[in-house]
């Protein structure tokens, strides 16, 4: 067992003026160095779970709660949002609405400025994240004159500049082009390799399968499943009940499970290629290869 960094303790949260909790009785521990993916349909509670991990729910949003969320040993009672933001950083889907500055460069520096970083350090980090998020040519431009995807990259850059211990990305790749999305995942993977804890909400199940180490499955406010990614993704029928689809290659293997006698479903392209090729390898000794050489 690693060191717990975020612990939900039978936590339920009610938005102001609502009778039903948005998340119910969540009991789970995220350990330092985990790369956890949160999956589930819209309104299942993923974003609310993210908001609770950074104290926005309940400290800023108000509302009621039961149980507790312990972040880096601080309980809800013993903490406020600024305690949380020292270690946890978050990016939401709607990047544009968080921008306040006149240039991309200032936007990246803004949060660091608020946290009292030295100027030289700020400049260094702005340049660093501008490169890693592919924004160098836009530094002088207004954040509002970027395309949708460029704005999302900027939001990610603003967060990374602060180098928080825990990084939460809530659907912040939804408007990125496929390569750009992959780059954000790669970037986050590198931060994970350096020991940071990553929590990610994303509807792209293929990327989630490829990069995360654990998955949390939310449905109707409840945490239904939590475990290693490869194990969770074996359970097609159950995931179906929770309105979640499998990665395409996993689904294909599932569809051919009986035909090919697969015992474990591949969850990423590499595994799937290997699995299908192995099968073809066995096949080649048989009449199948003859068939192919026949006209």
């Amino acid at each position: 067992m690693g060191t717990p960094i975020i612990e939900f303790k039978n936590f339920s949260y009610y938005y102001p003026n609502t009778e039903e909790p948005a998340i119910k009785q969540i009991h789970a521990t995220i350990e330092e160095g985990d790369f956890v993916g949160l999956i589930g349909p819209n309104k299942a509670g993923k974003s609310t779970a993210c908001l609770s991990m950074i104290g926005i729910a309940p400290h800023i949003l108000g509302g009621d709660w039961m149980g507790d969320v312990v972040v880096n040993h601080e309980t809800i009672q013993s903490s406020n949002v600024s305690d949380f933001t020292k270690i946890v950083g978050v990016v939401f889907q709607d990047a544009e609405s968080q921008f306040t500055q006149e240039t991309v460069e200032d936007e990246i520096a803004f949060a660091m400025c608020n946290m009292g970083f030295e100027r030289s350090e700020m400049i260094k980090r702005v340049n660093e994240v501008a490169i890693s998020c592919n924004l160098t040519e836009f530094l002088e431009r207004s954040p509002f004159q970027l395309s949708g995807g460029q704005q999302q990259r900027l939001a990610v850059a603003c967060l990374l500049a602060l180098r928080p211990k825990v990084i939460i990305l809530d659907e912040s790749t939804s408007q990125l082009d496929p390569k750009g999305r992959d780059e954000v995942f790669k970037l986050v993977k590198e931060l994970h390799r350096q020991g940071r804890t990553i929590i990610m909400v994303d509807h792209n199940i293929e990327k989630m399968a490829e990069y995360t180490t654990k998955l949390m499955v939310f449905f109707e406010g409840e945490l239904k499943l939590y475990g290693p990614t490869s194990e969770i993704l074996q359970q097609k029928e159950l995931l179906n009940d929770y309105h979640i689809r499998l990665p395409q290659v996993t689904d294909a293997a599932y569809g051919l499970k009986e035909t090919y006698q697969f015992t474990k479903l591949p969850i990423n392209l590499e595994e799937a290629s290997r699995t299908f090729k192995e099968y073809r390898g066995q096949e080649n000794g048989s009449n199948y290869s003859n068939q192919e050489s026949c006209p």
């Binding site: 589930g40 349909p41 819209n42 309104k43 974003s47 889907q93 709607d94 544009e96 609405s97 431009r141 004159q145 970027l146 395309s147 949708g148 995807g149 460029q150 990259r153 659907e171 939804s174 408007q175 990125l176 082009d177 496929p178 390569k179 750009g180 999305r181 992959d182 509807h203 293929e206 309105h243 979640i244 689809r245 990665p247 395409q248 290659v249 689904d251 294909a252 569809g255 051919l256 035909t259 090919y260 392209l269 799937a272 290629s273 299908f276 090729k277 073809r280 096949e283 048989s286 009449n287 199948y288 068939q291 192919e292």
Partner: protein, 275 residues
């Protein structure tokens, strides 16, 4: 057949000098079902904003249903070409969902009866019954997106442009969108969708326009797009995972566009083998 949308050597330069389109020629026919794909900042949104006159060409021309857009207002063009914005916050301006849905029918002077009929239709189709009294800005991003789709559908434009409708949609939302696209297509409308979601593009559109750096790199039937590795590379596109799997393991390098295609193909092969 005459194109419903045609651009010739379209150039667009934003204030401040960014040249977002560098000579684009596209021709869209009535009842086409098209995706525009390409890297962030390649000019997709800039292009489609010319289709209802929100942007006017810096050079070249845009002809909608036989008329040059330069001489027409956005109001006039919008009746033919409905545009669902990439960012729903830029589109919504009413204080209830119901009012938002009424904007189009009111602007285009629909009779009361027809307005009612259209609104009922979209409310049912998009399952908005429970949120009609809510302020659209208080909804989550996905719901906002559905409201903006509904508000354009409500006035039944001939051409429907959807700018990244899949962004942030879950499986149920995608299923709904799939249904809307096929209904529009069956009813004879023209649909142009911008998307970064290649699975969705592969399964739901017939023709694809690939853009990079303000230009069209490829305009082709969907089946021919994902084998163009070099072009896709330039446009920052990754084919769907199932297509990549097919390209890697299929001896004839077939292009599979859906999991269903892949599974039925291999099921058949293995039954051949038994014979």
């Amino acid at each position: 057949m005459d194109p419903i949308i045609q651009t010739k050597n379209l150039v667009h330069e934003y204030k401040g000098g960014v040249q977002a389109l560098k000579g684009v020629d596209v021709s869209i026919l009535p009842n086409d079902l098209i995706s525009i794909i390409g890297q962030n900042g390649s000019g997709k949104t800039t292009l489609v904003r010319h289709f209802n006159g929100l942007l006017k060409p810096t050079e070249g021309s845009v002809v909608i249903d036989g008329e040059e857009t330069t001489t027409k207002s956005v109001g006039y063009l919008s009746q033919k070409v409905g545009y669902v914005f990439q960012n729903p916050n830029h589109q919504i301006f009413s204080s209830t969902v119901m009012d938002e849905l009424k904007v189009g029918p009111k602007n285009f002077k629909f009779s009361e009866e027809k307005t009612k009929e259209r609104i009922e239709y979209v409310v049912n189709l998009l399952n908005l019954g429970k949120i009609l009294d809510k302020h659209p800005m208080t909804l989550d991003y996905t719901r906002k997106k559905l409201v903006t789709i509904a508000s354009v559908l409500a006035y039944a434009p001939k051409v429907m442009i959807l700018d990244e409708p899949t962004g942030g949609l879950d499986e149920d939302g995608r299923r709904l969108l799939r249904k809307i696209l096929s209904l529009l297509h069956e009813q004879g409308n023209t649909v142009v969708m911008i998307s970064h979601d290649m699975d969705f593009v592969a399964e739901n559109t017939d023709r694809v326009i690939v853009m990079a750096e303000g230009k069209v790199l490829l305009d082709s039937q969907i089946a021919n797009v994902f084998s163009e590795t070099e072009i896709l590379e330039k446009a920052w596109i990754e084919p769907p995972q199932i297509t990549l799997l097919g390209l890697d393991v299929d001896p004839e390098k077939r292009i599979f566009l859906s999991v269903g295609d892949f599974v039925s193909h291999y099921k058949n092969r293995s039954s051949q083998k038994i014979i």
